[in-house]
C-alpha cells in the first residue's frame, strides 16, 4: 500500500545508511564536540535570535525581564488620574465571562435615591484562582479592567490573594507606562465613555477610594476660595454648605444643620466678642458616643449663650461614627456662627475615617468662612490605617486655612 500525498512526499528517515563515520566511537566524539562548542560559547552573553550559541540567561532579580506590551498577568482596575474617577461602571461583563468565576462586584447606589449608579461599590478578584486568561480585559467595554505586568505575587498570606478594589486600583498613567500602544488604541473611547458616566455619578461615588478625601478637600478648597471672595465675616449668612457638604444629606446631617442655624442665630443676637482660649485637649471617654455628642451639644450651647470660646471637643467614639460626625459638624457650626475660637478636635475613629475626615473638612470650611481663628487641632491620629493619612492631610489643610484666617483677623483687629 503506497500512499501518495499532495504537495510533498513521503520521505523515509535515513537510519544509519548515511553514516559519516565507519569507526565506532567517532559518533560519540562528534557529539562531544557539539557539547564542547556550547560549553566554550557559554561564557558569551548572547540574546540574538539568529544565533544558537551563547548564554540566553537573564540575571533575573538584578535584570528585569523585558515584558512585551501584550503580556498579561493579573487583572487590575483603572482610574483616571485627573478626576480620580474609576473607569469601571459595574456592567458585570467580566464577572459573567470569567471562566473560573473569580470576579465579584457590587454596583454603587445613590444614597439619596437608592438608584444604581454606573460605578462600582466593591470589586473583588480572587487572584489565587485567576487563570490569567485575559477575557475580562477583552470584554470590558469601558477599558476599565486591564492585565497587569506585575508578576511577583508570591506571598505567605493566602488571604491577601483575595484582592479588593483598594488594591486593584491603578491610575491610567500606570497602564499607559506598561502598554503605551495598547492604551493609545483604547484611550479615546475609554475617556469618552468615562465622561458620560461621570455625569451620571452623584457626588464622590465612582472616585477611587483613596482619592475621595483628596478630591473632597480640593473641592472644599475651591468652594472656600469662592466663599472667601465676599468680604468680611458675615458670620451667619445662610449656612450655604460648600459643595463638599452639599452631597450626602442624611437625616442626621440635616438635623445638625438645623441646629447650627439655630446656634448661629443665637450667637448673632448675643453679639459677643470672640475671645481666644487655648485649645483644650481634654479627652473624653472615647467609648461612649453619647459623651461625644453631649460634648458637642454643650459646646454649641456655650457658643450660643456666651458667644465665647468653647472647647468643642469631639472625641468620636470608635463605635459610633455617625454620632461623632454629627458632633464634629455641630461643633464646627457653632464655632462658625459664634465667630469664636473652638478647638475643633477631630480624632478620626479608626473604623470609619471617612466620616471623621469629612467632619474635619467641614470644620475647616466653617472656620474659614467665619474668618475667625479656630485652632483646629489635629491630634496625632490614632493608629492610622492606610488612608487615614489622607484624612490627616485634610485636617492639616483645614487647620492651616484657619490659622491664616486668624492671622488676618488679628491684623484687622490691631488696625
Amino acid at each position: 500500500m503506497t500512499i501518495t500525498i499532495q504537495r510533498g512526499e513521503v520521505v523515509e528517515v535515513a537510519r544509519g545508511s548515511q553514516r559519516r563515520y565507519a569507526v565506532p566511537g567517532m559518533g560519540l566524539l562528534d557529539s562531544l564536540g557539539v557539547v564542547w562548542k556550547h560549553w566554550r560559547e557559554s561564557f558569551r552573553q548572547n540574546r540574538d535570535f539568529s544565533d544558537i550559541h551563547g548564554t540566553f540567561t537573564e540575571q533575573y532579580p538584578d535584570e528585569r525581564p523585558n515584558l512585551p506590551e501584550a503580556y498579561r498577568n493579573m487583572p487590575i482596575l483603572l482610574y483616571d488620574d485627573e478626576t480620580g474617577h474609576e473607569l469601571c461602571t459595574s456592567c458585570f461583563q467580566c464577572q459573567r465571562i470569567c471562566p473560573p468565576q473569580v470576579i465579584h462586584m457590587t454596583q454603587a447606589k445613590d444614597p439619596t435615591t437608592g438608584k444604581a449608579v454606573p460605578s462600582v461599590a466593591e470589586f473583588i478578584i480572587e487572584y489565587d484562582a485567576c487563570m490569567s486568561c485575559g477575557f475580562c480585559a477583552e470584554v470590558c467595554p469601558f477599558d476599565a479592567i486591564k492585565m497587569d505586568h506585575h508578576f511577583e505575587l508570591s506571598t505567605a498570606d493566602h488571604a491577601s490573594l483575595t484582592v479588593y478594589k483598594q488594591e486593584l486600583n491603578r491610575p491610567v498613567s500606570y497602564y499607559q507606562s506598561i502598554a503605551p500602544t495598547l492604551w493609545e488604541e483604547a484611550k479615546a473611547g475609554a475617556y469618552k465613555k468615562l465622561q458620560g458616566n461621570i455625569k451620571r455619578r452623584p457626588d464622590v461615588i465612582g472616585i477611587a477610594p483613596h482619592l475621595v478625601d483628596r478630591i473632597a478637600a480640593r473641592r472644599a478648597e475651591l468652594a472656600a476660595a469662592a466663599a472667601a471672595a465676599p468680604p468680611p465675616p458675615p458670620p451667619a449668612t445662610t449656612p450655604a454648605a460648600p459643595p463638599a457638604e452639599a452631597r450626602k444629606l442624611t437625616p442626621e446631617e440635616k438635623a445638625a444643620k438645623l441646629a447650627a442655624i439655630k446656634a448661629a442665630n443665637a450667637s448673632k443676637q448675643s453679639g459677643a466678642t470672640p475671645a481666644e482660649t487655648p485649645p483644650a485637649t481634654a479627652e473624653l471617654s472615647p467609648a461612649e458616643a453619647k459623651a461625644a455628642k453631649l460634648a458637642a451639644i454643650r459646646a454649641a450651647n456655650t457658643a450660643k449663650q456666651a458667644g465665647t470660646a468653647p472647647a468643642a471637643e469631639a472625641t468620636p467614639a470608635p463605635v459610633d461614627e455617625k454620632a461623632a460626625k454629627l458632633a464634629a459638624i455641630r461643633a464646627a457650626n457653632a464655632a462658625k456662627q459664634a465667630g469664636t475660637v473652638p478647638a475643633a478636635e477631630a480624632t478620626p475613629a479608626p473604623v470609619d475615617e471617612k466620616a471623621a475626615k469629612l467632619a474635619a473638612i467641614r470644620a475647616a470650611n466653617a472656620a474659614k468662612q467665619a474668618g475667625t481663628a479656630p485652632a483646629a487641632e489635629v491630634p496625632p491620629a490614632e493608629p492610622a490605617p492606610v488612608d487615614e493619612k489622607a484624612a490627616k492631610l485634610a485636617a492639616i489643610r483645614a487647620a492651616n486655612a484657619a490659622k491664616k484666617a486668624a492671622a488676618e483677623d488679628n491684623e484687622t483687629e490691631r488696625n
Binding site: 500512499i3 500525498i5 510533498g8 559519516r20 557539539v34 485575559g134 492585565m147
Partner: protein
Amino acid sequence: MLKTEELQINIGPQHPSTHGVFRMIVTVDGETITDLKPVFGYLHRNHEQIAEQNTYLQNMPYTDRLDYFNSMANNQAYAMAVEQLVGIEVPERAEYLRVMMVELTRILNHAGALGFLINDMGMWQTQLAFGMREREKILDLFESASGARLMCNYFRFGGVVRDLPPDFIPRLKELLQAMPAFVDELERLLRENEILMQRAEGIGILPRDLALAYSVSGPVLRGSGIPYDVRKAEPYSVYDRFDFDVPVGTVGDVYDRFLVRIEEMRQSRRILQQVIEQLPDAQGGHINPKARQNVRPPVGDVYARIESPKGELGFYLVSDGSGKPYRYKVRAPSFINLTPLGDMCRGYKVADVVVILGSIDIVMGEVDR
C-alpha cells in the same frame, strides 16, 4: 535452567521519568518485562464535565491546560470545532497566523520532547538545555503575540485575539535562520551517538499493522511507517497551500520516532517560511469582525481534528442550542498513544520502559484530562 519467579513492581506514580504523575504496573521476569499496565488518572479533573458547565468561549483557556506544551494547537482544534458548529468564516490572514503559531508550537514541542527523551536515556540535561533554549525563543514570540508563554489563549472564534506585534516577523525570521543550525546540531549530537543508538535502536518496536490497530497517531504512527498526517490526509485551515513532506520511519522503534521528530522540525520550518512569504498577500484582518464570541450554535454535532505535535487532536461537540456545549469530548493524542505501551515494552528491559515512554511523548495534563 534457573528457576525464576515473576515479580510485580510499580514504576511511578512519583517518578522523574514518567513525565507527570503516571504509574506503570510492571510484571518482570528477572530484568525482562512480561507485562505492563499503565495506570493513570492522578491528574484527572473531569475536564469534559467542567467544559459542559462553561460557555463555549470560556472553554478556550481550559483547552490550554490539556497539553500545556502546545496550547496553541489545542486552541486551534477547539476553535475549529466551534467554528464548524456555528458556521464562522475565518479570514485568510487569521488562518496564516494560526498555522504559524501551531507550526512554531510543533518545533517547540519536539525540541522539548527530544530533550526529555535523551534525558530519560541518561544523557542528563545536555540536550534538554539546548532544546529548552530554542524553546525559550519561541515562547518569547508567543508572549509578545498572545501575552503568555504557555497558556496562550490566543485563538478566538473567527480568528486570533490580536494581530502580531511589529517586531514579530523579523524576530521569527531570525529564529528560522538559526533553526537549521540547531536541528543539524541536534542531529549531529545524537544521530550517530553510540549511546543513543544502543538505547534506541530496536527498542520499543511498534510494527506498522499494530500501530494502525492501536489507533496511535502523530510521530508514533509515522515512526511505524504509516504516512498519516491530518495536515495531508484531511487538510484543514490553509495547509493545502504549503509544500512539505511527511517523514516516516521504517522499523517503528524509538530511534525512528526520534528521527521522525527531527525531520518534522525541518518541515515545520519549511511551512513557516512559506507562511512568511504568503502572509502579506493574505486577505482579511486577524479576526472576522462579524464573529460573535458568545456563540449559541444550532442543535447539532461536530468533530474537528488537527495534527497536533503529539498526534491527532480532536474535539467532538454536541450543541443543544444553548450557549454551553451539551457534550464536549477531547480525543487526546497522548491518551490514545499510551494504549500500546504494554505491547511496546513487552520483552524489553526495565530500563527501556522510560525510554519507550519518552519516545511516545505524553503530557499528563492531556492523558488524564
